[in-house]
């Protein structure tokens, strides 16, 4: 008979992890669809009773999104404008039912190329906190996601939180998702942006594209090119040459590769235009 562990303390969870291989279960919105069985298969470590892992907290150097924090928790949290993109992404994850159960950390651990969480968290310079019975390490998100459905997690380890550095609190975030229908849709392409502006010019632009490569990716060339540029002119600076080289999309049932690159470029352009328009509105 398979074991089902549901500890209320993190230390307990880490001991269970150390003892034998288990599947870590949080929202279960990806685990159940992967089986036709009536119950989760194998030995399970359910982390949703660990209160310490739930919620978003401001710590000295960062914001901590606990590993059991749901998308709805993100939506309901009082967060600065830099998290606005993540909140928009939260609203577009599956459906209300999925948002009420699914977790941000679980979304990263599933590591779907079309995962809705990764692009915004990349623009937030997020890291992943990983713990085991033997200790704790912090892995930059860009290193944590190593491929389609592959993450940098060793046996006996689990994700305990997502850390967003205080420095990423500057500026405003935004997000756009393209799918073939409105709700319950897997992205064809996504664009995320966090932009810090001083005196009308871009001080820092953190930009990312999702669903167009095995893992979501930042756009360093474009970010460099936009530094110092007036926000109002940013959209016009987006070219395929600055976006396409870092993408490696596939052809699938949702769209072909060439289209994805083009759509990603267009989404990024629109995202920057929307950021500019919003700033104009705020200034007016």
């Amino acid at each position: 008979m398979a074991a089902y562990h549901r500890p209320s303390e993190l230390t307990e969870a880490l001991e269970i992890l150390a003892a034998a291989p288990v599947t870590v279960a949080a929202g279960c919105t990806d685990l159940y669809p992967a089986t036709q069985a009536k119950a989760l298969p194998g030995d399970i470590l359910d982390i949703t009773a660990i209160d310490a892992l739930r919620g978003i907290a401001r710590e000295d150097a960062c914001w901590r999104i606990g590993a059991a924090t749901t998308w709805t928790d993100v939506l309901n949290a009082d967060l600065p404008a830099t998290f606005d993109g993540l909140k928009l992404a939260a609203r577009e994850v599956g459906s209300v039912q999925i948002q009420n159960a699914g977790t941000v950390a679980g979304n990263l651990c599933t590591a779907s190329p079309a995962g809705d969480g990764a692009p915004c968290l990349l623009t937030l310079d997020a890291s992943v906190e990983v713990q085991s019975a033997h200790g704790r390490r912090v892995v930059p998100l860009s290193s944590f996601l190593i491929g389609a459905r592959r993450v940098e997690l060793q046996a006996g380890e689990m994700v305990t939180g997502i850390l967003v550095p205080a420095a990423a609190g500057a500026g405003g975030g935004d997000f756009l998702k393209l799918g073939a229908r409105k709700y319950l849709v897997i992205s064809i392409a996504m664009a995320a942006a966090r932009i810090d502006v001083a005196d009308g010019a871009i001080r820092e632009a953190a930009l990312a594209i999702g669903a167009c490569s095995p893992v979501a990716t930042r756009l360093p060339a474009l970010e460099d090119a936009l530094r110092g540029v007036a926000l109002a002119e940013a959209a016009a600076r987006v070219t395929g040459e600055m976006v396409a080289p870092v993408l490696s999309p596939i052809d699938d049932i949702r769209g072909d590769a060439a289209y994805r690159v083009e759509a990603a470029t267009e989404l990024m352009r629109r995202l920057l235009a929307r950021c500019a328009a919003r700033r104009m509105e705020a200034a007016a």
Partner: protein, 909 residues
């Protein structure tokens, strides 16, 4: 370290409920199987459909994605508990016609209840956002949004509306007579009935599109199981191991013998206690596959799949009149197009499910269906039983749209029950349902149409290959129907149309709302836009010039009466001119987003094509004064239970509210044929009208009263009265007949048709319905995305029996047409779930305006024409024509996914 999970307790619908949970077991399983709360439905087991939505501590979650242990100590609300929470909401669903088949209704209601707790009077956007995670395949969502928005203003649930008076049922906006259980969760679908001691049935299915296979030591595998199980294979089938829908094309084994021709084909069933099956390793089932080269589309030839069908051509249908080649040669303008369409999945939210048991010497099958008598006869043949020893009790059916016309699990559960002597239940998984049941035919069609300088169509050719997959199913029907309808409802003196049903290793393509006509309409309607442009004529005007009118001959040489297509097109004209002007004004801005308007028509013959398809209806009155209608037309959500009763009640002259319904149980009710071909309102409706009229005749004769006398049924007294006097018939004094009635009538109606000759000439249908739809779209020319803003749908129903239900058909048909146009593409082996296979959600539907035209049909009951399939036919071509109007992009491959639209926009520049 671990808490003991043995003693869990949740507060379900206000009652403390202990449950012995395996902690990782889906909450949906605990609610349904352990606690008997079957109102919570399971549509996908993956969070893709939302049918299993419950409130967990006030938050909407999918019960199928929730480990049951998380309900321990929690408050859970299911549909069964909503009466106390939001009673007006359920009432509002009924009044608005928000429940059709009802399978998604519990999920919709619970999600809405979650919203209404915090937002008692939500706006449409809030409703769409909150309910967006629940899929509906019937309604097109608009009436659900209306019902939730209006629920706060609903009358007290205690106040029942009186209902229409005698003789006033037809035409009334009557809520469905069978709606009550659909909103309380009490409705019993195939998966909801679990007899005492029932065993579970699971199938072993082919993972390959084509393979030879050999079974290993099945007995040893079964014997090694942790608990007793039975395995049955083709060798155990007592009768003829073949089923089908059309006698001469029967070709599908219930369990394959040595050879599978499509993925998902069953080769064995395993039967046992649920726990025993759950403990089995199905991956270790002893079967050896030898995959064969397979082709699932029309791109490449493959060896013959069936003997006697050379070149894999199952059948071809032809309609020919005049000399189309010559007419095209002499035309002022000629347009040509080739269109490719995809496999389309029915995607009803209820996967196939049912139960079988032995009652005396009768095998009883209670399962989802669109055709109880066909199910009985085919199942009996496979199981080697005389038909009278099989009884089919139709379960409430959670959507069908054509695929539940075919047998699916009936022979399998029947075999299991016969062999074990125990009741047996089978519930398909979503993947199993999608892989193994029928689809809409993918088609590759080429058409040419010519017209003169005045825009009068002179001739048309049509040539289509329809991928009918591995087995015949309804492929012959598609091949025969398409050439009859590919002209659209237009005059074509010179016409030559050919449609072939071609076998591949794709899933068997069968019946799907429209039988190939929605595909064919894409060709003709695309070409009409080409020709209107070439001739410099407004596109609506072009259609008006060519529309059939009474006295015209169809391409089959028939002269139908009551042709309403012109009236439908005229009904669109005000909206058409308004929409064109609005689009032009919008497009003046030269933005990235452009608007366009498109129009397309439909016609569709109701009933079988030139073949008999009778319905028989019995209506009776008991000694106690109960008026009973044996209504055998399967109601799969479309509303036959209500409209057939309306027609019967008015013919009889008693209020429809007094009608009690008996369903299509083959032991109780005469055969009303299958729910397909838009035939039930017309054919069964006519039989019901005739039966009602006959019963009335008997009553009037008994009381010696004239035709204008009024009836009233009060207790066990039937009163017949007119201006001159009144007679009472004391029902208890009359003798009781074999069916238990003191007064009864039974009538059969079969549409008068003339079979088609070699050139497709004849009178294939006695009644046709007509319609025209206008689409207004917005196309993002940089992303290729399409948003349908508004659909205006004018349909000629002859006589509208029930406007509320008719609107529901229009809205639901448009939703399916929109899905076919923009997003639906079933790829065998790749999209066997509802997140890769996309159907429209709340957020994808346009505003829909229905306009009903009533041009009475001389043959239909009270003038009635069919509607169910018509509504889907014009939607996709209207949308494609609107995309073209907006951008110049001529889409010739469906679905019009963003990357295809963008490529077409580029090609047009």
């Amino acid at each position: 370290m671990n808490r003991p999970f043995g003693k869990c307790q949740m507060r379900v619908n206000g009652a403390e409920t202990p449950f012995a949970a395996a902690p990782g077991r889906r909450l949906s399983e605990v609610l349904r199987e352990d606690l008997g709360l079957t109102g919570t439905k399971v549509g996908c087991d993956a969070g893709d459909c939302g049918a299993c939505t419950v409130l967990l501590d006030g938050a909407a979650v999918c019960a199928c994605l929730t480990p049951s242990v998380r309900a321990d100590g929690a408050e859970v609300v299911t549909v069964e508990g909503l009466g106390a929470l939001v009673p007006r909401l359920q009432r509002s669903f009924l009044r608005h016609g928000a429940a059709q088949c009802g399978i998604c209704t519990p999920g919709m209601l619970v999600a809405a209840a979650g919203l209404l707790r915090g937002t008692p009077a939500p706006d449409r956007a809030e409703v769409e956002e909150a309910l967006g995670g629940v899929l509906c395949r019937c309604t097109g969502y608009a009436k659900i949004v209306d019902a939730v928005c209006d629920s706060a203003f609903e009358a007290d649930p205690g106040e029942a509306s009186p209902g229409p008076a005698a003789g006033a049922a037809v035409g009334a906006r009557l809520e469905r007579l069978d709606g009550g259980p659909k909103v309380t969760g009490a409705e019993m679908y195939g998966a909801d009935h679990l007899p005492e001691g029932a065993l579970e049935v699971r199938a072993i299915r082919s993972p390959h599109h084509a393979a030879r296979f050999a079974l290993g030591d099945v007995a040893a595998w079964a014997a090694a199981a942790p608990a007793p199980v039975h395995v049955f294979t083709a060798a155990d089938i007592p009768g003829e191991n073949l089923f089908g829908t059309i006698p001469v094309f029967v070709d599908q084994p219930a369990l394959a013998e040595a050879h599978v021709r499509q993925r998902g084909e069953a080769v064995a069933i395993v039967v046992g206690e649920t726990a025993a099956l759950d403990a089995l390793d199905f991956a270790a089932f002893p079967v050896t596959w030898q995959p064969e080269e397979a082709v699932t589309d029309l791109s490449a030839p493959l060896p013959d799949l069936h003997a006697g069908r050379p070149g894999n051509e199952l059948i071809r249908g032809v309609v020919r009149c005049g000399d189309a080649i010559m007419a095209l040669a002499g035309a002022a303008h000629v347009a040509e197009v080739t269109v490719d369409t995809a496999y389309v999945e029915h995607a009803y939210i209820e996967p196939e499910a049912g139960t079988a048991w032995i009652d005396g010497d009768t095998l009883v099958i209670r399962a989802c269906t669109q055709a109880p008598v066909m199910d009985r006869d085919e199942t009996a043949k496979v199981l080697g039983l005389p038909a009278e020893r099989v009884r089919v009790i139709p379960a409430a059916t959670g959507g069908g749209f054509g695929a539940k016309l075919d047998l699916s699990l009936q022979p399998l559960i029947g075999l299991a029950a016969l062999k074990t002597g125990r009741p047996c239940r089978m519930v398909y998984s979503r993947a199993e349902s999608m892989a193994s049941t029928t689809k809409r035919h993918p088609a590759r069609m080429t058409g040419r149409i010519g017209c003169d300088t005045a825009g009068r169509v002179t001739g048309m050719t049509f040539d289509g290959d329809f991928n009918t997959g591995a087995y015949a199913s309804w492929g012959p029907t598609v091949a025969v129907r398409v050439p009859v309808h590919a002209s659209g409802p237009y005059r074509m003196e010179h016409y030559h149309a050919v449609a072939r049903a071609m076998h591949t290793n794709g899933p068997a393509a069968g019946a799907f709302r429209g039988f190939g006509v929605p595909q064919a309409a894409l060709v003709q309607e695309t070409l009409f836009d080409d020709l209107a442009r070439a001739a410099g004529i407004d596109r609506l005007e072009f259609r008006l010039r060519n529309a059939l009118v009474d006295g015209d001959r169809t391409v089959c040489g028939q002269r139908p009466g009551g042709i309403g297509i012109r009236d439908c097109l005229v009904a669109l004209s005000v909206a058409w001119n308004r929409a064109l002007a609005e689009a032009a004004a919008f497009n003046e801005a030269q933005g990235v987003v452009r608007r366009g308007v498109g129009v397309a028509s439909c016609w569709y013959g109701c009933g079988n094509t030139g073949l008999p398809n009778p319905s028989t209806v019995r209506v009776g009155i008991t000694a106690a004064g109960r008026l009973v209608l044996h209504q055998g037309a399967m109601d799969i959500g479309q509303g036959a239970n209500t409209v057939v009763a309306q027609l019967c009640a008015d013919a009889l002259g008693l209020p429809v509210g007094q009608v009690s319904l008996v369903d299509g149980d083959t032991a109780k009710t005469p055969d009303c044929g299958k729910t397909s071909a838009s035939r039930q309102t017309y054919v069964t409706g006519k039989a019901a009208m005739l039966a009602g009229r006959a019963l009335r005749g008997t009553i009037l004769a008994m009381s010696n009263m004239g035709e204008d006398a009024a009836l009233s049924l009060e207790g066990d007294v039937l009163r017949v009265h007119d201006g001159r006097g009144s007679r009472d018939i004391r029902l208890a004094d009359l003798p009781v007949d074999a069916h238990g009635y003191v007064l009864a009538a039974e009538e059969t109606y079969d549409p008068p048709t003339v079979g088609l000759d070699a050139d497709g000439q004849g009178e294939p249908y006695a009644v046709y319905g007509y319609g025209a739809q206008m689409a207004e779209v917005e196309v993002d020319t940089a992303l290729g995305t399409v948003k349908v803003r508004r659909m205006t749908a004018a349909h000629d129903l002859g006589r509208v029996v029930n406007p509320l239900l008719a609107e529901g058909q229009v809205e639901g048909g448009i939703a399916q047409g929109l899905g076919m146009a923009l997003m639906e593409e079933y790829v065998p082996g790749r999209t066997e779930n509802l997140h890769d296979y996309l159907i429209p959600t709340f957020g994808d539907m346009p505003e829909i305006r229905s306009i009903f035209v009533e041009k009475p049909d001389p043959e239909g009951p009270m003038g009635v024409k069919g509607l169910g399939e018509h509504v889907l036919i014009p939607t996709a071509p209207a949308i494609l024509n609107a995309i073209r109007h907006a951008t110049g992009a001529r889409i010739t491959r469906l679905p019009a996914l963003p990357h295809r639209v963008l490529a077409a926009i580029r090609a047009a520049r």
